[in-house]
Symmetry: C2
Subunit: 493 residues, 2 copies
């Protein structure tokens, strides 16, 4: 396998193939027998669990509670909000029957035609409709508000072209659904949650993101405004990593959810929803990994430190293990996850390659000579640099290096994004530069028509209208009409 690992396609040769291979070779996920659906393997799931754990804590710190709503949504619910049904009700898994029966003409089972549902049920593509149908019974007075609820769930969208983690028919996500008494409060919550996502992306995933507003074309179906965080992958393409939607009163009106305000008058409730998904796994992989395999930020690595003994015989191993045991205990007492790999059916070289492929941030190798010298060899995954260090005081050093790796990964990504972000004012130049894989800051006249034209001609879309940064007005590079500020154009995953 050590050899096989080396066969990972290089990013420079074929970035897309590198990604697909890496997902499988690093044991993150694989295609399942069901079209467009993946199996998330234990190592990949362990990373997702760490993401969930941190996000869940961050949500709860803002007052959000978890709940669970049904998987299946009555077809009629999807039709209640006019724009929503256009955006979501089309490509989805439809349950039409509730029973199978033995095939009278052969072996196996067939759908029982007698068990047809009166109304078809849709496997949720997102849960606004079923949740707002439920909130109608929960909200009566301003005292019931705000309602701050999240669910961790699987959802399904029947995608034609799928890629593991990035776009799969079934995916895992969280969806927050808040109800408020005022437009201002709902807008503030919408912004608060996109900031939570940005915080998570930057401080846990070590992935720089830009917070911005989506153009009307790219808005969530049924929202009055969508915020997103946008990240740049190593190939210069953009990846939308999280969204937060201000839904205004659209869903409250569609599901007739009103409350008595403080003046005792009925009023429609204000809504927002926000979500991130297993797509973040794709973003994480594509932001940091290299031609040797996965590179994981320490804060999300299932194994932060692996220790590999180098020994000639059983006595040697015993001696090393005795010295390593207190080190493992000490590291664990600092909250560091450690694996001591003393398996005797794989050689050290194989182990080294495997843990590189899996992105373990720090590898310690310890041999007979190290025992004599009181040293250990440390390799950090982000730079692949090795150094021999005294065993004495190694724990504190490791704490420091883990923190340094976390910072370094963010810094590298930020520098790459800055190097690959350019300003362009001329549409011909835009068409040329977009081929290089860059973010282009350009002026746009604010119309869907111009955006659509650019998309058709260059495959680039407006990723977002950034909330911060240069707000100087200008003129649209395509139409020459006035532009309020530069927006980010890029090709996107």
């Amino acid at each position: 396998m050590a050899k096989e690992l080396k066969n990972l396609t290089k990013r420079s040769d074929n970035y897309s193939q590198w990604y697909n291979e890496l997902v499988v070779k690093a044991d993150l996920a694989e295609q399942s027998a069901v079209r467009g659906c993946m199996v998330i393997k234990p190592y990949g799931y362990a990373i997702w669990e760490k993401m969930q754990h941190e996000l869940d804590k961050m949500f709860k710190a803002t007052g959000v509670q978890n709940a669970y709503f049904p998987l299946l949504i009555p077809k009629s619910f999807l039709c209640r909000e006019a724009e929503h049904v256009e955006g979501f009700a089309k490509e989805c898994a439809v349950v039409t029957h509730y029973r199978l029966k033995n095939d009278p003409e052969g072996t196996g089972v067939i759908v029982d035609p007698a068990a047809r549902l009166e109304e078809e049920l849709i496997v949720r593509p997102t849960s606004e409709t079923i949740i707002w149908g439920t909130y109608k019974n929960w909200i009566h007075s301003y005292r019931d508000l705000p309602l701050l609820i999240n669910q961790w769930a699987n959802v399904m969208r029947w995608e034609m072209r799928t890629r593991m983690f990035l776009r799969t028919s079934e995916f895992l996500w969280q969806e927050g659904h808040c109800a408020h008494a005022t437009a201002e409060e709902s807008e503030a919550r919408t912004v608060e949650m996109i900031n939570v996502y940005a915080d998570f992306a930057q401080n846990y995933m070590a992935m720089p993101v830009t917070i911005g507003v989506k153009s009307p074309n790219e808005r969530f179906a049924g929202a009055i405004n969508t915020y997103s965080i946008e990240a740049m992958m190593q190939d210069g393409k953009a990846l939308q990593a999280g969204t937060s939607h201000n839904l205004g009163q659209n869903f409250a009106k569609a599901f007739d959810v009103t409350f008595m305000n403080k003046e005792n008058k009925p009023e429609y409730v204000w809504a927002n929803s926000w979500g991130v998904s297993t797509r973040l796994m794709g973003a994480l992989i594509m932001t940091h990994s290299d031609d040797n395999g996965l590179v994981l930020p320490p804060k999300l690595a299932p194994i932060q430190v692996v220790i590999v003994p180098i020994y000639k015989n059983n006595d040697g191993l015993t001696e090393i293990s005795e010295r390593v045991k207190p080190l493992v205990d000490e590291l664990r007492s600092k909250g560091i996850s450690v694996k001591y790999d003393d398996a005797d059916n794989r050689r050290p070289g194989f182990k080294f390659a495997d843990y590189e492929l899996k992105g373990v941030p720090i590898r310690l190798a310890i041999g007979q000579r190290d025992l004599e010298n009181g040293t250990v060899e440390l390799m950090r995954r982000d730079t692949l640099e090795k150094e021999t260090l005294p065993l004495e005081g190694i724990t504190d050093k490791i704490v420091k290096i883990l923190d340094d790796i976390q910072q370094n990964l963010f810094k590298k990504s930020l520098e790459r994004r800055e190097a690959k972000t350019i300003e362009v004012d001329n549409y011909d130049e835009f068409k040329e530069k977009i081929e290089d894989g860059v973010f282009i800051m350009a002026h746009w006249d604010g119309t869907p028509e111009t955006e659509e034209k650019i998309k058709e001609e260059t495959k680039a879309t407006i990723r977002c209208i950034p909330l911060e940064g240069d707000k100087t007005p200008g003129v649209c590079m395509v139409t020459g009409k006035p532009s309020a500020q530069r927006v980010i154009f890029a090709r996107a995953y």
Copy 2:
């Protein structure tokens, strides 16, 4: 609402109605707009999260890793294992189409007949088939074994008669699926996991359970042996709270999963699967709760201590709050979850009734006079006993009382089970006694026919053949044929 709470039906009047009302009134769950599916509300979900958290830790301590497999299973997969399809493939949600389209003859959307799936997909009722279909690619050599994997997921079984938590069409659960190189190892894991469940039931849920083997009639479809933990509810009915199945080589054969053993010969893999579900919520509610509402064991209570200030005016509240703040901090530093309810829109009497209904283990009330006297009033939910205690040293006292409540709930349930468990040797007496709501330890000849006859005539089933306890042989109370040992008969949820 304080009045409304008192309207909870008494257990002695109608146990079943008491349960249904309690689930709703305590804000645990409610019926959704989708037939047989429930919404798990935030308070109910918080208890489920605590269960998940503890179970997940226990599983991982035995070497299990989490993963995620697809929601939808190709129909043909279900048919591979002959018994399995009989047990599971019948009442289930069937996805037949993948697209909706605008209704040409009206508003709304209809199923697009052009988007019919070649092969129908089934919403998983359990995942043995899709998982063993996947394991085929993961297992090649004895070095790949054991494979110890669990998933937390939603599943769906189209139940005709549903009751919240106890039997719903969609429910949440975990399903472990292990693969082993030998029959012995697989059997040992099957037993290990039923013991983990018993440990959790008894030490976290404070619910005594009997570990036993299921009779062939009650075995999991496709298993060679099923272990279960059986608990007694307050009405004397049994509730199967968890199962662990030794699947032998049935699924390995159905999905052709072989491995090269140490002698380099191909061999079918040995399998087991084990699961608990949101049904545990129903068991928890029915084991401890009373006519005043929910009673929660401290280890699973989302709020362990609630503090209610009793005050006349704002100055009074400020003074109490100042004294309470360090107490809250101190309790939290001991890992105790505390809520200080200083909301001014609900009177103390209302709050008392509400927290009783919600099963908060300890309630502290603190008023002006308490401040003067340096005291606090403490009520424990299990006994409803109140006592006035010095504020000084109250934290240590609370730690002790929480532990005592946990023990006391287990003790009470165990005593009830013992009082309601009887030995019967005569079938006429059996028919009479079973009406009282008891567990009957009786001799049975080991045949499915006799079991079926008893079930038809008395609605009682064999809950399990206990692994421990009296192993004296005897004669079947129905047929007079030899019996290896007494088994537990009861009516069941």
